[in-house]
Subunit: 302 residues, 2 copies
C-alpha cells in the first residue's frame, strides 16, 4: 500500500520554516512519511540546502503566510495563496491525504472549512486531542481549542463528534464526561451547569456526567467535553507536566470538516513535528475522518 | 512562643470524621500543631477512641453539618450551629487563630464572611493556592475556586489580593499574569480578552499580560489570575499529575476576609490533612492574613 502524502504548512509555527523542514525530513527518513512542503520556496529551499538535502522533498509554492495574531477568517479570505490554504487545497484536490499545520489553529480551521466544507449536522468544527491515559487507552478531548467561547448546545455537538471519534479509534460503546470542578450535579460555572443538563437530555446513558481532571486522566470516560478555552488550558497544563511523547501523538485532529486536517504545537521542535507528521499519515491511512463522518451520520452518539 | 490553635471542621470532607480526626492527631503528634476539633461529639469521640486516643484533643460541639451539595449561603443561614460556622466563630472570638475545613469551599467562605466580614475594598473574597514552582518559589493562583462565574473587574480584585499575598510571602515587587491559552494580546475567551484590558489599565507594570500554563509553572509570574472555574481546573490538573506534597502545602487560603481561614481537599487523606493543619498554623503564626490586609490597604498592588 502506498503511503499517503501529508501536505505540511511549512510556514506555520514559531520556528518555521527551519523546524518544519527539519521535521519533515525526519518524518521522511525515520518513518517513511511522504511529505509535501507548502510555502515560500525562497524560505524553504535554503533550509533543505542547509541540511544538505536540497530537492529531497517536493515543494508546492505559496507566497503568503497567516500570522499567529491575525484574524483567521479575514486573513484566509484576503490571502487565497496563504500556505495553510494551499495545503488544504492539495487535500481537497486529492494531491495530499492530510493537512498538517503548526500555525494558527483558527487559520487551519478556516482553511479546512474553505477547502473541505463541514459535515452535515455539524454546527461548528472542533479540535480533538487524543491524550494517552492508561492501558494503551486514549482520552479524546473535545474541544481542545477551536472555539474559546461556547454555549451549551455547542458542547453537545462536541460530545457527539468526540463519541464518533472514539468509535473510530475502536471503542465500542464510548462514554463522554463534562470537564468540571466537581463530580456532583450542579457543579461548575453557568456554562458547565447548563451544558450538563443539555448533555444529559441529548446523549442519555452515553453521558457520564461531570468529571474532574484526575478522574479524566484516570480513564473514567472515553471523551472529555469542554469549551475550547477550558479544554485548551487543561491540555496545555497536562503537556506542561508530562513528557511530550506521553501526552499525545504530536497532533490534534479537526473534527466536523469533510477532510483530514491536523494541528501541531506552534512551539513544536523538529522531533515533535516528525511525530505529528507520522500521526497525520496514520490518521489518513486509517480513514479516521471518514469513519467519524460515518459514525456521526449513523447518529451513533445520539 | 505558644503555638496557635487551629479550629478544624471535623465534619468536613469526603472521609470525615475518620480522616479529619486521624489527620488532627498526626498534626499534633508529628508537628506539634494545636488542633480543636469542631463537630458532633458522638461522631468524633468514637474516632479518637478507635485510634486509642480518647480525650487527646479538645472537641467543641456543633450539631449540624453542611453537605457538599447544599447551597452554601442558604445552609449557613439555616444552620448557625453547623461545624464550619462554629469553627469560624472560634477564630472570631480569639479561641482559635485559624479555621481549616475540607468541606464545601462555598460553605467555608460563607462561614468566614459571617464570622469575620470582608476587608475594605474587597468585592468578593477568593481562594488562593500557593503552588511550588522552582527554586523554592511559589506561584499564587487566585481564584482557585471560590467564584466560578466572574467578570473582568472581579479578576482585577483577584490580582490585587494575589499581589498582596505574594508580598506577604516575601516577594518585593510581584507581578501578575492572566491564565490564558496564548501569550499574545487578544487571545482567549471573551472574559480573558476583557480582563486582560482591565488588568492592564488597573495594574500597570505589575500586570505581565497573558500567561500559558507552562510559563506559569516555570515561574514566569508571581501571581496567576483566573476565574474560579478555570483556576480550579488548572489546580486540579496540576494536582492530578504531580505528587501531592509537591503541589502545595495541603491547604489554600481565603483572601479578602478579616480572619484566617483555609480550605483543604474534600478527598484529603489523613497525611494531607496533617500537612494542611501545619500550613494553617504557620500561616496564622506568620500573620499572613494581617499582612495581606496591610498590603491591600497600602494599595501596594494598584
Amino acid at each position: 500500500v502506498e503511503q499517503p502524502v501529508v501536505a505540511l504548512d511549512a510556514m506555520g509555527g514559531d520556528h518555521a520554516p527551519a523546524a518544519t523542514v527539519e521535521g519533515a525530513l525526519r518524518a521522511h527518513d525515520e518513518h517513511g512519511v511522504r511529505v509535501t512542503l507548502v510555502g515560500r520556496p525562497d524560505a524553504i529551499e535554503p533550509e533543505l540546502a542547509r541540511l544538505g538535502r536540497a530537492g529531497a522533498l517536493p515543494v508546492v509554492p505559496a507566497p503568503d503566510v497567516v500570522g499567529m495574531d491575525e484574524d483567521a477568517a479575514l486573513a484566509l479570505r484576503s490571502k487565497p495563496r496563504a500556505s495553510v490554504r494551499v495545503a488544504a487545497d492539495l487535500v481537497a484536490t486529492g494531491d495530499a491525504a492530510a493537512l498538517l499545520s503548526a500555525g494558527s489553529t483558527g487559520a487551519t480551521l478556516a482553511a479546512a472549512l474553505f477547502a473541505f466544507g463541514r459535515l452535515e449536522g455539524v454546527r461548528r468544527p472542533a479540535v480533538a486531542a487524543a491524550i494517552p491515559v492508561s492501558d494503551g487507552r486514549r482520552l479524546v478531548l473535545v474541544d481542545a481549542g477551536a472555539t474559546p467561547d461556547a454555549e451549551p448546545e455547542l458542547l453537545v455537538g462536541h460530545a457527539r463528534m468526540g463519541l464518533a471519534y472514539a468509535q473510530a479509534l475502536g471503542v465500542t460503546s464510548p462514554t463522554a464526561g463534562l470537564l468540571n470542578i466537581g463530580a456532583e450535579p450542579g457543579k461548575g460555572n453557568a456554562l458547565a451547569r447548563d451544558a450538563s443538563e443539555s448533555l444529559t437530555a441529548a446523549l442519555g446513558p452515553a453521558f457520564a456526567g461531570n468529571v474532574e481532571p484526575a478522574a479524566a486522566l484516570d480513564g473514567a470516560v472515553d471523551v472529555l467535553v469542554a469549551d475550547g478555552f477550558t479544554g485548551n488550558i487543561f491540555l496545555k497544563t497536562v503537556e506542561a507536566l508530562r513528557p511530550v511523547r506521553d501526552v499525545h501523538t504530536g497532533a490534534a485532529l479537526l473534527l466536523g470538516v469533510r477532510g483530514c486536517a491536523l494541528v501541531a504545537h506552534g512551539a513544536a521542535a523538529p522531533a515533535e513535528l516528525a511525530a505529528a507528521l507520522r500521526t497525520a499519515a496514520q490518521v489518513s491511512a486509517e480513514d479516521v475522518t471518514g469513519r467519524v463522518a460515518a459514525a456521526l451520520a449513523a447518529g451513533a452518539a445520539a
